[in-house]
């Protein structure tokens, strides 16, 4: 572990943007305006699946104040975008594939006029049979959703055919031998629901085109670089023509990583030759962006009588919705995590992803792992019950340890899971018994679950410039979506250069000026970008020392950075020179301005071909594992079946907490979002139509639903490869919440529910059914 020298790493520094968020001056996409700006509106598809026969936009264009109308006719057939499969146009072209899909967009002088014009567009459809579930979509006679699927560009071996979007399989050991070696085999079927992201800020974009045809685009996003790639792919533009910028972001949770209305805003701006702002309503945000995948999961686990896990088969079927988006990644990643943090010698984890006539499903905090963990971690409790082993002891017996290999074969560089479990076991008083006295008319018990996640994948960079006065400008291209990465990356930079935090400023991401960053997603910014920040800082340090060696007339090897922005001769602190003098010399006399840069791509292989056989691998290089153990104390009302999480302990091995306060915030936030997933959040479809696309009908937890006591426990395993030992924290805390709550419900009232959410209705029904047995 690298010690903090200036005390910036490990400091609970307030968010750099705290003041502007408190006083309301922070500007989000809806707050931005440009001179001459028009307002956009979208016409949405009323059909789940239909051919578009014709458009009549004449009535819309005749309305005073309407400046441009765009339809599928404005994009070419081969202009398709997509992270894994390029299957999606900027808006519906030729067909509509879900209710709510954008069919046309309008730019007008006011939002009201734009909406009026949208209603005046006449589209003639020929309705087609719709496939509304993955089971229906994969039937041989199902209507084909993407006729051109075979010709689409794909970034890995997806195995696509018919309505099968992708398939993935991991095999390790010999599963048939595993079943033979097992004393007992457990098998069950699990269902999870669609969950909406409900970011505080709905999606939106503002595009402006200059006289030379170059476009500037601001949008609610998690990566200016993914916005750039998606818009340019879907509109046939060279990437150099489009500059993407970011305002402040009101959270993402995955729904702002891939495109929403950015291509539409740009298309409208190009056609109107005026700036256009298009911001979705809350209802449209529910209907048009993306949501967490419903999973259909079968888990089969073989064990020895002593509790040793021997074999695991997981089979999943995902509803991908109308476009692939991040779904192939979610499928592959969920399977990669489906043996959990346990030693299981024989495994076969496989699954399929189907196109359906619903809104696309995509990235959502946890990326498939909350769903898989609900199934696997509740099955572990069933095994523990059957074997009469304490659930924690069963897990400890089978835990992966530092140096073990993950499913696929990647070594685990650091693992604090054992400590996570011990911390939540002790803090919750687990050993004193799982059943607690509830209030009158209720029953109460503890439940637990473990999970893992990753911190590293894909590429990233950082540039650090030492300004003339010796202050520091950091530029990473990583969008802070509210979680605090600007602060954390600045802390890493300040610590590396041994300057106070207020000496560092961080540039706002800009595709023109920032180094590439794949995105603020997959819990990767602190680890991936942090490593680049330290790499760039090392180059700056080397250059500072070269100048200082000249100034102090000594060898650069004899110099060290000392706190406060100085470089001094080792052991002789008063023989020093300040960064301002060094930078002044560089700017005006010798060498040129000091710039440090670093970029890298995560290159540890997911799969070791000597250990595992994998088909359809969407992420060939992914890793840096983090771990979590959760205990919850849940009370169930016997009258209604309603569950309330009274207390919770969530311990996360984050490697190192660069900013402990923000780490705790992530653990707490992830817990509460997981609580909504566990107990009541569910997007419901009435036929092809989302029945609850409003905050009146779709409920997320309030502070009243949050546990009365929620303990975020930080475990620091100090990863040897991470920046100052850090790994990640953004997602790990959500993965095990639903499983832990389901395990507590089972302990309290003796019912095992294998379908989420655990609504009061489902719990009460199961309680009454079990009483009748």
């Amino acid at each position: 572990m690298t010690q903090s020298v200036v005390g910036v790493v490990g400091l609970a520094a307030p968010q750099l943007e705290a003041a502007e968020k408190v006083d309301g001056s922070a500007r989000f996409i809806a707050d931005l305006n440009r001179p001459g700006m028009l307002y956009g509106a979208v016409l949405q598809s009323p059909h789940a699946h239909a051919r578009i026969l014709s458009y009549d936009v004449s009535r819309a264009l005749a309305i005073a104040g309407v400046r441009a109308v765009v339809t599928g006719d404005d994009v070419q057939t081969n202009w398709r975008m997509g992270a894994f499969i390029k299957d999606e146009h900027a808006l519906a072209k030729g067909k509509v594939r879900y209710v709510g899909e954008a069919v046309a967009a309008i730019a007008a002088d006011s939002e009201a006029v734009a909406r009026e014009a949208a209603a005046a567009i006449n589209v003639v459809y020929e309705e087609l049979p719709a496939a509304l579930s993955p089971h229906a979509a994969l039937k041989p006679d199902a209507a084909v959703i993407h006729e051109e699927l075979a010709n689409y560009i794909k970034v890995f071996d997806t195995g696509s055919a018919g309505n099968l979007c992708s398939r993935t399989s991991f095999r390790e050991g010999d599963i048939e031998q595993g079943w033979r070696d097992s004393d007992l085999i457990f098998e069950a079927h699990y269902l999870t629901q669609a969950q909406a992201h409900v970011s505080l800020e709905p999606c939106g974009a503002l595009a402006e085109i200059d006289a030379n045809g170059r476009i500037t685009l601001w949008s609610a996003n998690q990566s200016v670089f993914r916005v750039q790639a998606n818009v340019c792919e879907s509109l046939g533009l060279p990437m150099s023509r489009l500059r993407c910028l970011t305002p402040r972001i009101g959270a993402g949770f995955g729904n702002k990583m891939e495109p929403h209305v950015q291509p539409l805003a740009v298309l409208l701006a190009m056609k109107a030759r005026r700036p256009v702002k298009l911001v979705l309503s809350r209802e449209q945000d529910f209907e048009m962006v993306r949501a967490r995948h419903p999973f259909d999961i079968r888990v089969k686990t073989g064990v020895k009588r002593d509790g040793t896990l021997v074999a695991r088969e997981v089979e999943v079927l995902l509803d991908g919705g109308a476009f692939a988006d991040d779904s192939p990644g979610v499928l592959g990643y969920a399977l990669l995590m489906s043996c959990g943090p346990y030693r299981i010698p024989h495994a076969h984890c496989h699954g399929r992803l189907a196109y359906t006539n619903k809104m696309r499903f995509g990235a959502f905090r946890g990326f498939g792992v909350p769903q898989i963990t609900f199934a696997t971690e509740t099955q572990l409790d069933e095994i523990a019950d059957a074997l009469a082993i304490d659930p924690i002891e069963l897990r400890l017996k089978n835990l992966k340890r530092q140096g073990d290999r993950w499913l696929g074969g990647q070594p685990i560089a650091s693992c604090g899971l054992n400590e996570c479990i011990e911390r939540v076991r002790t803090a919750s008083g687990w050993n004193g018994g799982r059943h607690r006295a509830g209030s009158a008319g209720s029953r109460r018990a503890l439940g637990m679950a473990c999970s893992a996640h990753i911190s590293g994948l894909l590429s990233t960079g950082a540039i650090i410039r030492l300004l003339e006065d010796g202050s520091v400008l950091l530029n990473t291209g990583a969008v802070d979506i509210g979680q605090g990465s600007n602060t954390v990356l600045s802390q890493l930079c300040a610590e590396a250069l041994r300057v106070p935090l207020d000496r560092v400023s961080i540039a706002s991401p800009d595709t023109d000026g920032s180094p590439y960053n794949w995105g603020t997603t997959a819990s990767r910014v602190t680890y991936m970008t942090g490593i680049s920040v330290l790499g760039a800082a090392a180059e700056v340090e080397r250059k500072i020392k070269e100048h200082a060696a000249e100034i102090l007339e000594c060898s650069a090897q004899d110099l060290e950075l000392v706190p406060g922005g100085f470089v001094a001769v080792k052991g002789i602190p008063h023989r020093r020179v300040g960064f301002a003098a060094v930078s002044g010399r560089a700017h005006w006399a010798a060498g040129g301005p000091i710039i440090g840069s670093h970029s890298w791509v995560f290159d540890q292989k997911t799969v070791d071909p000597k250990r595992a056989s994998v088909v359809g691998l969407p992420f060939p290089q992914i890793g840096a594992f983090v771990f979590n153990a959760i205990v919850v104390d849940v009370e169930i009302d016997e009258t209604t079946g309603k569950s309330r999480v009274e207390r919770a302990w969530s311990a996360c091995d984050v490697g190192r907490a660069i900013n402990p306060q923000m780490v705790e915030g992530q653990i707490e936030g992830a817990f509460v979002q997981g609580l909504g997933f566990a107990l009541f959040e569910e997007m419901v479809w009435n036929g092809p139509q989302i029945a609850n696309p409003t905050l009146m009908d779709y409920k997320i937890p309030t502070f009243i639903e949050a546990p009365s006591e929620l303990y975020a426990i930080i475990v620091e395993s100090n990863d040897p490869g991470g920046p100052f030992g850090a790994k990640s924290v953004g997602e790990i805390g959500i993965n095990g919440v639903a499983a832990a709550i389901a395990n507590a419900v089972n302990a309290a009232v003796g019912v095992r529910l294998r379908r989420l959410p655990l609504t009061s209705e489902r719990v009460l029904e199961a309680m009454l059914a079990s009483e009748q047995k």
């Binding site: 009201a112 008319g441 009541f680 009146m696 009243i704 609504t759 009061s760 209705e761 009460l764 029904e765």
Partner: protein
């Protein structure tokens, strides 16, 4: 959102009622908690809005000479939740008021608006039905009083005629006893899946009503008669069955109709048992 309707700020009730009579499609606006949300959702498009917020006689809570309580229609939920005069058997009302939506809505919403929209998910209708309330209505032409159990007619429908508004809610003199509002919702602030309102006097007189299970709050003199004379488990079950038979719940994103029916007797028993426990602790 609909176009902005004209807003009239009336200083007196007479003027407000005259405006409502004169402008077809005009709607009275008080806290706006229901009306503005419905306008935002495009469910109503009033021709004009007549604000009632500056009419003093519609605001506040008064106790009459005979001990009855009059709650002005423009009294806000939080004022009702905090008023100590709504005690004993009338305590069901502040208990319900405190569970309506969230703090922002409770600071804005008014009791008149809440009942005039007859939203079956709201909390005041069953609470008022248990409290034995009488609603006072006024139009430019006349005033009248309607017992709360006759006020609600159907989904989002009341006995109110065009141009007529709720001006007050009258409660009988609170008796010593307890009032309780048991609400079951997915999360705090959501509409009730099922709610049960109870007023239980120390002399045994009891009134119960159920919300969330149909277009109007469920209540019956027969059920009240049973729980007024017998609070045994079998009597509560009988009363619960009577109220369940009146239910006409729907399947929606909150719960199924079957679950709602299942909950009526369970929650009724729970609420009355909680009331008895509270009476004992008071006594």
């Amino acid at each position: 959102m609909a176009s902005n309707p004209a807003l009239f700020q009336s200083p007196t009730l007479t003027e407000a009622l005259d405006l409502l009579a004169a402008i077809p499609g005009a709607r009275p606006l008080s806290g706006g908690a229901s009306l503005v949300a419905m306008m935002n959702a495009g469910l109503v498009e009033p021709a004009a809005l007549v604000s009632l917020t500056r009419i003093p006689e519609l605001r506040g809570i008064r106790v009459t000479a005979d001990g009855g309580v009059i709650i002005g229609a423009a009294t806000r939920h939080n004022e009702i939740a905090a008023d100590p005069r709504l005690c004993g058997t009338a305590a069901v009302l502040p208990h319900a008021a405190a569970q309506i939506a969230g703090m922002a809505v409770r600071n804005m919403g008014t009791i008149g608006g809440a009942i005039a929209h007859a939203d079956p998910g709201l909390d005041f209708p069953p609470a008022l039905a248990a409290a034995g309330a009488v609603v006072e209505l006024a139009s430019a032409a006349a005033r009248r009083r309607v017992p709360i159990r006759e006020f609600f007619v159907d989904w989002y429908a009341t006995v109110l005629t065009p141009g007529e508004i709720v001006i007050a809610v009258h409660l009988p003199k609170p008796k010593p006893g307890v009032g309780l509002y048991l609400k079951h919702a997915r999360v705090s602030g959501d509409f009730a899946i099922v709610s049960v309102a109870v007023s239980l006097a120390r002399d045994g007189e009891a009134h119960v009503a159920v919300g969330g299970c149909g277009p109007v709050p469920l209540a019956s003199a027969e059920a009240d008669g049973i729980v007024s004379s017998d609070l045994s488990a079998s009597a509560l079950a009988h009363a619960g069955d009577l109220l369940t038979a009146l239910a006409n719940p729907v399947d929606d994103v909150r719960a199924t109709a079957d679950y709602r029916r299942l909950l009526i007797p369970r929650m009724l028993a729970r609420a009355l048992n909680d009331c008895m426990a509270a009476s004992r602790s008071v006594a």
